[in-house]
């Protein structure tokens, strides 16, 4: 069972502001039945442009309902400019946190609010929709980019937790990775540009640590999924000596795995001059 906070349980079991505001000034809808969750937000402004009334209707799991309920409470009395600043992380924080697999519920809240505000401003198609990346859940590159930036996402799995993209057939994982890489480098250029130039060369010890860490976190899990395994034997300058285990050791494609996957990953993540060789027992 999910580890929901008391606040999530409370907003799920006693949801605030369920329903539909009549003659709404703003209407925002996201999600679909096929996706497994959907949210319809309606709000009305008062004379001074503050949200006087806001209601939701949600089809979805406990955390989807709780996120919707929380959002309506959070924005009541706010101007649209203030409301538009709310991020999905704010919604999750308000609820005392959400399980990471459920973060997409908070993203849905933020998106519906964005759409409702755009509707009010007469901007029926808010921001360019982008191109579809995940067919299964109808998620575009723009939506993924935004979630990556706002939540500092690093892996495809995290993108799935936050946006659902990639949670179905899995065919778009490469595209998601490409978006991650793109956003990642853009951020690096922005944030790290002055530093990268001056970055000192890795010491051997740092390099070994990084290689161990990368093997452990990035490479082993994916080999193990196919019944294989890998072990770091030694690092000699730029030469990384490893031993393949399990089905990998007898697999005809071992060289492909080694050069095409392991070496590429290590070069990409640590240093481009690394060379991976297999030691045979």
């Amino acid at each position: 069972m999910w580890d929901y906070t008391d606040k999530v349980k409370d907003h799920f079991l006693n949801p605030r502001n369920v329903g539909e505001v009549e003659n709404a000034d703003g209407v925002g809808e996201v999600g679909s039945l096929a996706c497994g969750d959907a949210l319809r937000l309606t709000f009305k402004l008062d004379d001074v442009g503050r949200i006087a009334d806001i209601k939701f209707k949600t089809f979805g799991c406990g955390s989807a309902i709780a996120s919707s309920s929380a959002l309506t409470e959070m924005v009541k009395g706010k101007t649209l400019a203030e409301a538009a600043k709310i991020t999905n992380q704010d919604i999750a924080d308000y609820l005392g946190g959400l399980p990471k697999e459920k973060m997409h519920c908070s993203v849905m809240g933020r998106e519906a609010l964005g759409k409702a505000i755009a509707y009010y401003r007469g901007d029926l198609e808010p921001e360019p929709e982008g191109t579809l990346v995940c067919d299964c859940f109808g998620v575009t590159d723009k939506e993924i980019e935004r979630a990556v930036l706002e939540n500092n996402l690093k892996t495809v799995e995290e993108v799935t937790d936050y946006t659902k993209a990639g949670g179905g057939c899995g065919r778009c994982h490469e595209q998601i990775q490409a978006i991650l890489d793109k956003v990642g480098t853009e951020c690096m250029v922005e944030a790290l540009a002055p530093e990268t130039a001056a970055q000192p060369k890795l010491t051997t010890l740092q390099k070994i640590h990084l290689i161990e860490d990368t093997l452990e976190r990035e490479i082993r899990p994916s080999l193990q999924k196919d019944g294989g395994d890998i072990e770091l034997i030694d690092v000699d300058g730029d030469l990384v000596l490893v031993e393949l285990r399990g089905v990998c050791s007898t697999c005809a494609a071992a060289q492909v795995t080694l050069k095409g996957y392991v070496e590429t990953k290590l070069r990409e993540l640590i240093a481009p001059e690394l060379v991976v060789e297999e030691v045979t027992a």
Partner: protein, 390 residues
């Protein structure tokens, strides 16, 4: 608490617990020992083997104890593949438990051509397709006896016969069947059968594999001489004794309990369908386990239903995406083509001999209100009711 999730696991029967306790306390000998202390334990393991065999209509030598249903499935399929190296193919269905499904996907990954047979909207296989899939290049076929999510029962006698016509080994995952409907393997074309203790009131972590006499076999857990060399590892004596007792109880009570449980299930099902609009049963209602009902409540989401049932102290499960941590509804419902409007809101109630009429009454009393409340909140429900004629 009202426990209606017996296809997930069951309570250990008090008689079973009592029977196993001495083997967790004073009777701790390793059955391989050369002393009376061990011989007594060994005798009890033998008795358990007889009891399991009796429930299945098998010979005790045909029973191999394992650590769980999953190990039984792995042992069966790997044994069949390894001992028939001249055939590569594997035949199975799209609705197997992950213990078989993921194993077959793995076998496919390492070079075995696997046919995953489709099912129709009621979860049934097409025997013409089954026959066509069973060719001389297939080593093993594995079709579950009954599906854990919907309770749909497959015609394993016919499927086994089709397998044998092509010289294909036939394995069935009977984890959901053993203890629920009578089985007599003597007359059936089944080469291997998996069962799991915790589905019939024995503890978790004990299973068995039936291997028909004369079948080619190869161990999955290679080690000592235990289980006549078919499964290494010192026997889990308390759990084996428990499984034996659970099988003995099942053999005695199966006829009586199955009609009682069926009546409870049917009463719940018809009352819910009557009181809740836009609800439908998933699965083959003609051929179904007596204890299982899987009902789709349209336009609401399964996890939300379960959380509200939980507030009422009722335990059930769902094929909805949100409950599993995956984002798509269960592979079984998708294979059946259950529309998304319904798949996300599917709830499974599964009974055991410990359920009562009072349990059923309670669910009937609270569930219609829960569904109505969630539909009130659902943006699709209003649309739906508007479309419907008054």
């Amino acid at each position: 608490m009202i426990y209606l999730d017996n296809n997930a696991t069951t309570a250990v029967a008090p008689e079973v617990l009592e029977e196993m306790l001495p083997f967790l306390k004073e009777q701790y000998a390793n059955p391989s020992g050369m002393y009376t202390f061990a011989a007594e334990v060994g005798r009890k393991v033998g008795e358990a083997r007889e009891r399991v065999a009796a429930l299945l209509g098998a010979h005790p030598d045909e029973i191999v104890f394992t650590s769980c249903g999953t190990e039984s499935d792995n042992t069966a399929l790997r044994a069949a593949v390894w001992s028939n190296p001249d055939r590569l193919g594997v035949v199975t269905t799209r609705v197997e438990h992950p213990a078989v499904k993921n194993l077959c996907e793995h076998l496919e990954h390492v070079g075995h051509p696997v046919s995953f047979l489709p099912v129709d909207g009621a979860g049934r296989l097409d025997l013409v397709q089954v026959r066509a899939a069973m060719t001389r290049s297939v080593a093993v076929s594995s079709v579950m006896w009954a599906n854990n999510e919907t309770g749909t029962v497959f015609p394993v006698a016919e499927i086994g016969a089709l397998a044998h016509e092509a010289g294909v080994v036939f394995h069935t995952d009977a984890v959901q069947v053993v203890g629920k409907i009578p089985i007599d393997l003597a007359g059936l074309p089944i080469d291997m059968l998996s069962l799991s203790g915790h589905k019939l009131h024995a503890p978790k972590g004990i299973g068995a594999l039936y291997v028909r006499k004369g079948s080619k076999f190869s161990s999955f857990l290679i080690g000592g001489h235990q289980e006549r060399g078919r499964r290494g590892g010192t026997e889990n004596v308390p759990a084996i004794v428990a499984l034996g007792k659970a099988c003995e109880i099942a053999a005695d009570s199966i006829e009586r309990e199955r009609s009682r449980v069926r009546r409870l299930r049917d009463r719940l099902e018809s009352a819910l369908l009557e009181r809740i609009p836009n609800a439908r049963v998933n699965g083959d209602v003609e051929n179904r386990l007596p204890n299982t009902t899987n009902i789709a409540f349209e336009f609401v989401e399964g996890e939300a239903i379960l959380l509200m049932l939980n507030e009422e102290g009722i335990c059930a499960s769902s094929g909805s995406a949100c409950t599993s941590g995956s984002l798509e509804p269960s592979h079984v419902l998708r294979a059946m083509g259950v529309p998304f409007t319904a798949a996300h809101g599917s709830v499974r109630f599964s009974f055991s001999a410990y359920n009562t009429d009072a349990d059923v009454d309670r669910v009937i009393a609270v569930l219609p209100g829960i569904i109505a409340r969630l539909r009130e909140m659902s943006p699709f429900w209003a649309e739906q009711t508007c479309k419907m004629p008054a």
